[in-house]
């Protein structure tokens, strides 16, 4: 049998798209005009021009309005002080701080870590660089079969970011801290991470970043390398973010990404992962809690193109007061990707009748010896369980918190490091407790 792979979902030409794309490009410029990245950036600009920026009618933008993400000016976003110790503060790590997308040498640690080379994209203006093989290249691969114009826009315009090359097992995490200081900031960062054979790195990210944040992270995980990513997106209520992860996995490699999101009027997190080497494993998970003016979209595309690989997508959303959650998750198993083990679950806990969760799980399978499962549920809190807890003396609010944590647990379990998992659980519990008071 000849397999016919899905065709690229082309955006339809429209005058409005052309107009809006031109308006956006008119207020931006290439992030660099010299050095190795110029050619990659120019190619990305061509992609943006040929695709155009997203429109509400596009297949993957029907549930998330792209307007605020593509507008020439970033909608203003008040800076929020959660009055708490910054997350990951107690972790021994290499801190790299960006304020409104601008690197802060003062607040950052020296970019030094044994077995890891860390460089700033903005500093990297040589003509030849290892990152030229990846910068915008994984993004370009990820444009098919679903176009992701905001990522191409990022590749062209990114003003900074990190180029991280890992040759050994990093002894501590690299921790990116994105601070938000200006109500009108519009930040575009692009990171490239290359893990050489057998290398291992944990990357932490936290903070709201800017009023509007466009971030791309390209990750090349070589054979037997391991990459862990734990992210907390920052609690500024009005911030907007469009983020992309493009990852390519080699033989027996591991990729694990977890994102915790609380607050934010607009978040679109895309992950595009290709398993290209046999026996690789990719887990991408997220938990979000939204209250009121909150829109959170997880769009995931996992491609199996090798033997005996495992992928998991675990997404949990807790929504109330009109908050909106979106999940668009796909598993594509290419012809020949036998023994694939694919799992996908997306669930929402709706704390009232005003909140909505929309899910589009997709499986496309061309191999005949695979195990793929997916599930999506949406529901209110289990009244029986609540009564059971209360009948034992647990007050209503505490009982609800226990149930929320229990609901999110499966996603949190995707964090391999016990300390980091405990920290996020602790943080989550604190947020729930304070919301009560």
């Amino acid at each position: 049998m000849t397999a016919i792979l899905s065709e690229t979902i082309k955006t339809k030409p429209s005058a409005r798209r052309d107009e809006e794309t031109a308006a956006r490009l008119a207020v931006m410029s290439a992030g660099a005009t010299e050095g190795w990245s110029v050619a990659n950036r120019e190619a990305a600009l061509e992609r943006v021009k040929s695709m155009g920026l997203p429109q509400p009618r596009d297949e993957y933008w029907r549930w998330t309005r792209p307007a605020s993400l593509i507008a020439p000016e970033a909608p203003t976003a008040a800076v929020f002080d959660p009055a708490e110790t910054p997350i990951f503060d107690a972790v021994d790590r290499v801190k790299v701080v960006f304020i409104d997308g601008v690197f802060s040498a003062e607040e950052s640690d020296p970019l030094e870590l044994t077995g890891v080379s860390i460089e700033r994209l903005a500093d990297s203006t040589s003509d030849i660089h290892w990152a030229s093989e990846l910068y915008g290249k994984l993004e370009a691969r990820g444009q098919s079969p679903v176009e992701r114009p905001l990522a191409a826009l990022n590749t062209w315009a990114a003003t900074d970011g990190l180029l991280i090359r890992v040759t050994g097992k990093a002894e501590k995490p690299v921790s990116l801290i994105y601070k938000h200081a200006s109500e009108t900031s519009d930040a575009t960062l692009h990171h490239v991470i290359k893990l050489e054979e057998g290398a291992e790195l944990t990357l932490l990210e936290n903070g709201p970043a800017a009023a509007r944040f466009n971030k791309v992270m390209e990750v090349d995980v070589a054979d037997e390398a391991r990459f862990h990513h734990v992210r907390a997106q920052g609690r500024d209520h009005e911030r907007r973010a469009a983020t992309h992860i493009f990852a390519r996995l080699g033989r027996e490699s591991l990729f694990k990404s977890f994102t915790l999101t609380a607050n934010g009027v607009m978040t679109r997190n895309e992950a595009v992962i290709e398993l290209l080497g046999d026996d690789a494993m990719a887990h991408v998970a997220g938990a979000c809690m939204g209250d009121g003016d909150f829109h959170h979209d997880d769009t995931v595309f996992v491609t199996h193109d090798a033997l005996n690989c495992e992928s998991r997508q675990v997404f949990k959303k807790v929504l109330k007061n009109g908050a909106q959650g979106i999940f668009q998750g796909k598993i594509l198993v290419k012809d020949g990707a036998q023994k694939t083990d694919g799992y996908q679950i997306s669930q929402s806990l709706l704390l009232d009748g005003d909140s909505t969760f929309l899910a589009k799980p997709e499986l496309e399978i061309y191999a005949d010896d695979v195990a793929c499962s997916h599930g999506s549920t949406s529901g209110a809190m289990d009244e029986e369980a609540l009564f059971y807890l209360r009948s034992r003396g647990v007050p209503m609010a505490e009982a609800q918190n226990l149930m929320v944590i229990a609901f999110i647990a499966e996603a949190l379990d995707e964090i391999e490091d016990e300390g980091l998992r405990a920290e996020l659980l602790d943080r989550l519990t604190g947020w729930l407790d304070r919301r009560r008071g």
């Binding site: 807890l389 003396g393 647990v394 007050p395 226990l402 229990a406 999110i408």
Partner: protein, 251 residues
């Protein structure tokens, strides 16, 4: 200690009267059993006393040690000393049994103005009580009731009861789904809690549970009322003759 007077209850959703004037007094230190055919309102009584939603009290009152129960939230009733051992204990995926127990114990202590129990003391106490109920460490670690057998669920209920030390223990068909050995284990657990200051309301279909948990008083409930009250011999009478004779006698 428990005073129920002329209690009338209907389902909130449909206009259906379930309890039609229940009068009942349970004294401290005593075990009262309630028997009755299916649909007589036994379980409803246990739910109404513990504060489950979905029921509307249309008339009458219920108090524990002089405190009006019907105005309280379920957690307040628990803190006041009410404990319901569920007929069908609820599974709560994601919440560890230990976390659940400690949260409950501390919540009740807090409500009563007492200090929280230390982690070490709590662990010691749980282990000790779990041991007598043959609940192993693995069961304590698992999520609440998830994957528990019928017997394990009921033993877990009794463990909670032992940890929370309530004043009024309501057992709703605790014998259902138990084999002979499990019934003995559960009954021993209940009997160990029998105490001068504690009252029991044991709801059951069958006399066999009452062989293990010997009641002081037996009530027969039918069609939302208590139709007959007597000593332990009443349970034996039901076991031998069924409810039909009793019902006929009342009518």
């Amino acid at each position: 200690m428990l005073e129920i007077k002329n209690l009338h209850v209907k389902l909130e959703e449909e206009d259906k009267q379930i309890l039609k004037g229940v009068d009942l007094t349970v004294e401290a230190g005593k075990v009262h059993a309630i028997m009755g055919p299916n649909g007589s309102g036994k379980s409803t009584l246990s739910y109404v006393l513990s504060g489950r939603g979905g029921y509307e009290v249309t008339e009458g009152e219920a108090s524990l040690l002089g405190e009006d129960l019907l105005d309280m939230d379920p957690e307040e009733r628990a803190a006041a000393g009410v404990f319901l051992a569920f007929q069908y204990p609820v599974e709560i995926p994601g919440v560890g049994n230990m976390t659940f127990l400690r949260t409950a114990v501390n919540a009740q202590r807090k409500a009563r103005g007492e200090e929280e129990i230390s982690a070490a003391d709590f662990l010691k106490l749980v282990r000790e009580k779990a041991k007598t109920l043959k609940i192993d460490a693995e069961m304590l670690k698992r999520p609440v009731n998830v994957g528990f057998s019928g017997g394990e669920k009921k033993r877990n209920e009794i463990l909670q009861m032992a940890m929370l030390e309530p004043k009024l223990c309501i057992l709703d068909e605790t014998d259902s789904g138990l084999d002979v050995d499990a019934m003995k284990l559960v009954s021993d657990g209940v009997n160990a809690l029998r105490d001068e200051g504690r009252g029991f309301l044991v709801i059951t279909h069958y006399q066999r549970l009452l062989d293990h948990i010997k009641p002081d008083v037996v009530h027969i409930m039918a069609d939302g009322r208590i139709i007959k009250t007597g000593g332990p011999e009443l349970a034996l009478e039901v076991e031998q003759n069924g409810y039909a004779d009793l019902l006929a006698e009342v009518q």
